[in-house]
Amino acid sequence: MTLDAFLLLAAALFSVGLYGALSQQSIVMLMMGLELMVNGIVVAGGAFWYYIAPGAADGQVLVLVAVTVMALEMAMGFAVVTALFRARDADLTDDAEDLRG
């Protein structure tokens, strides 16, 4: 129950999410990877609040912002996937790389 243990857990969740985000072909699965990464951030935020600065509520606000960012990212991600699916009838990341240089 030390700070390092919590941060290692956060790092583990972050890297599992990173693996998922990099390796998955479907945009929706890629978003699952992003969710897992933000999950790691939430753990880190809570641990920093408890072990480093419990006096101020900044750690808690960070966790709130992380949870909100995750939800808004999900909403926008699904909107993009729906628009893409309607326009191009596929949700694979390979088809969605028009912006690539």
Binding site: T68, A71, L72, M74, A75, F78, A79
Partner: protein, 115 residues
């Protein structure tokens, strides 16, 4: 007794009761599992039901996700209104006004209708 120990004990008790129901059904019930077709009022299924289900209210889910994030701020706000006075109330209802604008826009765009 520690509170979360009591809660975990209650959850365990619930689980134990449920396993007891399944065990009792194994003892008193007729043996052997009946493999059946899904019930289609007498018809035969032509394909797996587990398919890409075209949900007609997907626009509502996105507006719900966004609107729901405002709940996060309202629970702590409810605690501090008594001590922080009108400033907190004005702030929160400005925040709510923003979000109701979004709901109004979604309604006008027909997001709450079945697509």
């Amino acid at each position: 007794m520690e509170t979360f120990v009591a809660v975990v004990a209650l959850a365990g008790l619930g689980g134990a009761l449920i396993t007891a129901v399944y065990a009792l059904s194994f003892l008193t019930g007729v043996r052997g599992t009946l493999g059946v077709a899904p019930f289609l009022s007498g018809g035969v299924p032509r394909e797996h039901a587990l398919s890409r289900f075209h949900v007609r209210w997907y626009a509502v889910t996105m507006v719900f996700l966004a609107f729901d994030m405002e709940m996060i701020f309202m629970y702590p706000w409810a605690l501090v209104v008594a001590s922080m006075g009108t400033m907190a109330v004005v702030e929160m209802f400005l925040f709510l006004g923003l979000l109701l604008l979004g709901v109004l826009y979604a309604w006008r765009e027909g997001a709450f209708r079945w697509a």
